[in-house]
């Protein structure tokens, strides 16, 4: 039953990513060319509502439906891993025009070439696991 809820959330996510065109290479390219407000509007409005909502959750100490604690943790302080990791991620994001979520959405939409990107992403994740201890964090 619980798994069906996550499946439904995933379906909604897929619809929103595809219909907002956030899963389109063209929109990502246009964003990095500052050619349209569209992508900034999506991220900005999600963020505006997100910030207010998270503040409400924290101030009122709201709990998840099944009890327990809200999954809102402070991230480890550092600069290197976030900046360097972020730059590497951004290079890939602009090249393939898709971040991890939209990759799955595009797979469902039938773009078989995205399988190559997904294989790459899994390989990249695996590579990180292999050399993690040698990287500055």
């Amino acid at each position: 039953m619980r798994y069906l809820i996550y499946l439904a959330i995933g379906v909604l996510f897929g619809l929103v990513m595809f219909k907002s065109e956030a899963a389109s290479w063209f929109r990502i390219y246009e964003m990095f060319q500052f050619g349209s407000f569209h992508m900034y509007g999506i991220i900005g409005s999600a963020l505006a509502i997100g910030i207010v909502g998270v503040q409400v959750i924290k101030r009122k100490d709201l709990k998840p439906l099944g009890g327990g604690k809200m999954n809102l943790h402070d991230k480890e302080r550092s600069v290197t891993r976030y900046l360097v990791g972020g730059i590497i991620f951004g290079l890939g994001w602009a090249l393939v025009g898709a971040c991890p979520g939209p990759m799955y959405v595009l797979l469902g939409a039938g773009y078989s070439a995205i399988i190559l990107v997904l294989i790459g992403a899994i390989a990249g994740t695996f590579l990180y696991g292999l050399i993690k201890e040698k990287l500055p964090h």
Partner: protein
């Protein structure tokens, strides 16, 4: 019924993304679409080679359900709710056409010059797609999150590390489009 087939505007899409984040928080989880890649690695036995994948991935099976849902959502949207074209700023479309010979802006959802079946017979395109994927997967884990985990979840929680990561995303993205594209396309 035009709202079904037309693209959804940012002021509908953005709030829906926030809603998705809150739904995941309400079920005790969090919104982040790249950690499932680690779950996949762990599930196929990567724990044998690295401590990083040696954890109870079964507790993360929920995010594989979200992934399955995203695939279904993409299928439904593409087949029943869209004409699969994306109209972008005409100046950007023209620049794509003139500088990179990418002509399919306004005609397709993705540039067929990169993602079409014909492009896949070109080894160069295949390498670009795989390298792009590796950068996304590696970078997301190094940075500890992607667009959803940092730009939406982390920034919503006012996390300075997420702001640093998002600045990184844009340094990387802008460098790729403005400095590297002219060299590789």
């Amino acid at each position: 019924m035009n709202w079904i087939t037309n693209p959804w505007p940012w002021y509908i899409s953005g709030p829906l993304i926030a809603l998705i984040m809150f739904m995941l928080l309400a079920t005790g989880k969090k919104f982040g679409m790249s950690s499932n890649l680690r779950t996949v690695c762990a599930a196929v036995g990567a724990g044998r080679t690295s401590q990083f994948f040696r954890y109870d991935w079964r507790a993360d099976r929920w995010n594989l359900m979200v992934v399955l849902g995203a695939i279904i959502g993409g299928f439904l949207a593409s087949n029943y709710m869209s004409d699969n074209t994306v109209i972008i700023n005409p100046a950007v479309a023209q620049q794509l056409s003139e500088e990179y010979n990418i002509q399919s802006a306004g005609e397709n959802y993705l540039p067929l010059e990169i993602f079409g079946t014909e492009a896949l017979s070109n080894p160069y395109t295949i390498i670009l797609l795989i390298v792009g994927g590796v950068l996304v997967g590696f970078g997301a884990r190094y940075a500890g999150g992607c667009t959803s985990g940092h730009a939406i979840s982390g920034l919503s929680n006012l996390q300075l590390p997420s702001l640093i990561a998002v600045v990184g995303f844009f340094i990387g993205g802008l460098s790729m489009v403005h400095l590297i594209f002219p060299l590789i396309f």
